[in-house]
């Protein structure tokens, strides 16, 4: 099947330039280490509002670590992160997170709807239980990712791609301004990939900022308008059309890369 052709037909046009000039996420001198050796080294990064950005880099480059540090899950050795000029702690409501799918145990005794509902817990705060309003929002999110029919399924009985959609729905229900997604395309088929990218593009159209860890270099120019090359250090960041080239790819992946970019 010719996937590229399908994309062209079905995806929403992505050539609208981003940026209102406002910086949504700003990372300064970020250094992170699990053990002795830093896995992120002195990262400076400015992500403009309204972009759909890919973070690319080889396995172990620190992509997940970068997202986790921005979200305050990991404590950096040095550096700071601000969301719209304020520390993350003050801006939690503005941010939604889609973790790598393998980071949880899918045999947990709960249903798809229940997992999506967890996206509303943040705005509910402590102790208060989700009610009708939260349920309605969660069902809408499930519908959006095409998973409404599976709402009562035990989550272990979903396929990998369906689990990925559930995670996406959980983030959508947070109704945030900035979305961080760790490999949302991991292990999904072509149809699901199109469905997901269309949702991401809709988010961007609504003025949201979407940051996605992405492995398929072929599709970067097609899907994204902004890109960050990462391998322990930040290699480059900027508009795809300016910096997505063999030079940066070679610097990031360490071998000669030839990617032909279709315009």
């Amino acid at each position: 099947m010719n996937r590229t052709k399908i994309m062209k037909e079905q995806t929403i046009d992505n050539k609208t330039p981003a940026s209102s000039g406002v910086i949504a996420v700003k990372v300064d001198d970020l250094t992170v280490a699990y053990n002795y050796k830093p896995v992120l080294w002195d990262i400076d990064l400015e992500i403009p509002e309204g972009v759909l950005m890919a973070i690319v880099g080889p396995n172990g480059a620190g992509k997940s670590t970068l997202i986790k540090s921005i979200l305050g899950i990991l404590k950096p050795i040095a550096g700071s992160v601000t969301i719209y000029g304020k520390p993350y702690k003050k801006q939690r409501q503005l941010v939604a997170y889609v973790p790598q799918k393998g980071s949880v145990d899918w045999d947990f005794p709960t249903t798809a709807l229940d997992v999506v509902m967890m996206g509303t817990y943040g705005s509910l705060g402590w102790i208060k239980r989700p009610g009708q309003k939260e349920k309605k929002a969660s069902l809408e999110a499930l519908e959006k990712v095409g998973m409404l029919a599976f709402k009562s399924r035990q989550i272990s009985q979903l396929s990998g791609g369906q689990q990925q959609r559930i995670f996406l729905a959980r983030a959508l229900v947070q109704n945030a301004s900035i979305y961080f997604m760790d490999e949302p395309f991991q292990g999904v088929d072509a149809t699901t990939e199109i469905a997901i990218i269309n949702i991401l593009k809709e988010l961007r159209k609504a003025g949201k900022t979407v940051i996605v860890v992405h492995h398929d270099l072929q599709t970067v120019p097609e899907y994204f308008d902004w890109v960050t090359f990462l391998n322990v250090k930040k290699i480059a960041t900027g508009p795809v059309k300016d910096i997505f080239n063999d030079d940066n790819l070679t610097k990031t992946y360490g071998i000669n890369y030839k990617v032909s970019i279709q315009e």
Binding site: Y97, P99, F108, P109, Y121, G122, G125, P130
Partner: protein
């Protein structure tokens, strides 16, 4: 004493009633909390905590010289908590795997506790006799105040669990995500762990250091087999735990001098075995039955599809064909053919078969239907 006599006694005999009530409550609270430990993949935690409590009991005895259970349990609680928070500390500070940290604390504290116990036993003071009941437990020593204490802790635990249900659930499923939503995951974690420590310490007198973790794990593992809902799982685990307590006490009381703790654990083990075999969705038995049924269905479908393939070539779908034609086909047997007739998919006429209208349509939809069959 036989079992009917025992049942009579539960209602009349004060001691037996106390013990039965105590083991039932203990089973319920450990079952409930055990669900959390199992779902967090911290199965070893219960073992580590109960073993870590031993030196506390010995030290409490050495300091106070008292033998009453409450003083000793406070010692157990303190050293249990110290052990638990050391485990946390080791995991966060040194990046050792959590099972390494658990194993380390478990053997260290237990070794130290055994050392102290031998030291106490060598002392001339006759008062020491009986401390080793904490190793394997002695339900017979339960008194009313012990049961009250268990009931209060269980009640507290229930209240906290209902209050923070949503927080517990999300932390168990996805701790990192919980943190990004702004919840203090450390607080939730400490709350769960503290109650696990409390429940374990309360059970030491009854079940003992060595077997205590089984009380935590067995009811939860059994409950997981029967449900895909967290609340039902916690509820079932409490029920299984309580019944293990009651049955265990009953068996040990009616079979003179069988020690109660191990019997309770064995009963809980039977619950686990039963659940692993007979649970409708996850049990081995039904899985096997489903497998056989699926294979039969598949043979049937294959034969039907093959017939459809032949019938398709004719204008008239009910045109009869020779049964001999089917002999070349591997999915075909006399009994599958008979089943197809029973289902009214096929008509037989002497040596000839023909598809009925329903049979033809079913066959045509056989392999396109799958995707719409969900839900």
């Amino acid at each position: 004493m036989d079992i009917t006599e025992y049942i009579k006694l539960v209602f009349t005999d004060y001691t037996l009633r106390t013990i039965t009530l105590g083991t039932a409550i203990l089973g319920a609270v450990t079952g409930m909390l055990g669900s959390f430990a199992v779902l967090r993949k911290q199965s070893l935690l219960g073992d580590a905590i109960s073993h870590a409590a031993l030196p506390g009991i010995a030290i409490a005895f050495l300091i106070t010289g008292a033998k009453d259970s409450n003083t000793l349990l406070i010692g157990a609680l303190i050293s249990g908590l110290i052990g638990t928070f050391w485990i946390r500390g080791i995991v966060t500070k040194t990046h050792l795997k959590s099972d390494t940290a658990l194993g380390l604390i478990l053997s260290l504290f237990f070794g130290f506790g055994m050392l102290l116990l031998t030291f106490i036993q060598k002392q001339p003071n006759a008062n020491q006799a009986g401390l080793d009941k904490y190793l394997f437990g002695q339900a017979a020593t339960l008194v009313e105040s012990d049961v009250w204490l268990m009931a209060i802790v269980t009640g507290l635990c229930l209240i906290v669990m209902l209050t923070f249900w949503k927080e517990f659930k999300i932390l168990l499923f996805d701790a990192d995500y919980t943190q990004t939503l702004g919840f203090n995951t450390k607080f939730i974690d400490i709350l769960i762990t503290t109650f696990i420590v409390l429940a374990i310490v309360l059970g030491l007198q009854t079940v003992g250091v060595v077997l205590m973790s089984a009380m935590l794990l067995a009811p939860a593992a059994a409950a997981r087999q029967w449900t895909n809902s967290l609340s039902v799982m916690v509820f079932l685990a409490a029920i299984f735990g309580a019944f293990s307590g009651v049955f265990g006490t009953a068996i040990s009381a009616s079979q003179n001098n069988l020690s109660t703790g191990p019997v309770i654990v064995l009963v809980a083990g039977v619950f686990v075995m039963f659940s692993f075999i007979f649970s409708p969705s996850r049990g081995l038995l039904f899985k096997q039955i489903r497998f056989i049924k699926n294979r039969r269905d598949l043979e049937l479908h294959k034969t039907l599809a093959f017939m459809h393939h032949i019938a398709e070539t004719h204008e008239d779908i009910s045109h009869p064909h020779a049964i001999k034609l089917l002999n070349n086909f591997q999915g075909y047997t006399r009994s599958t053919l008979q089943k197809l007739v029973d289902k009214d998919y096929v008509q037989l006429d002497g040596n000839m078969w023909s598809l009925t209208k329903t049979g033809f349509e079913t066959a045509a939809n056989l392999y396109t239907k799958q995707s719409t069959e969900d839900e």
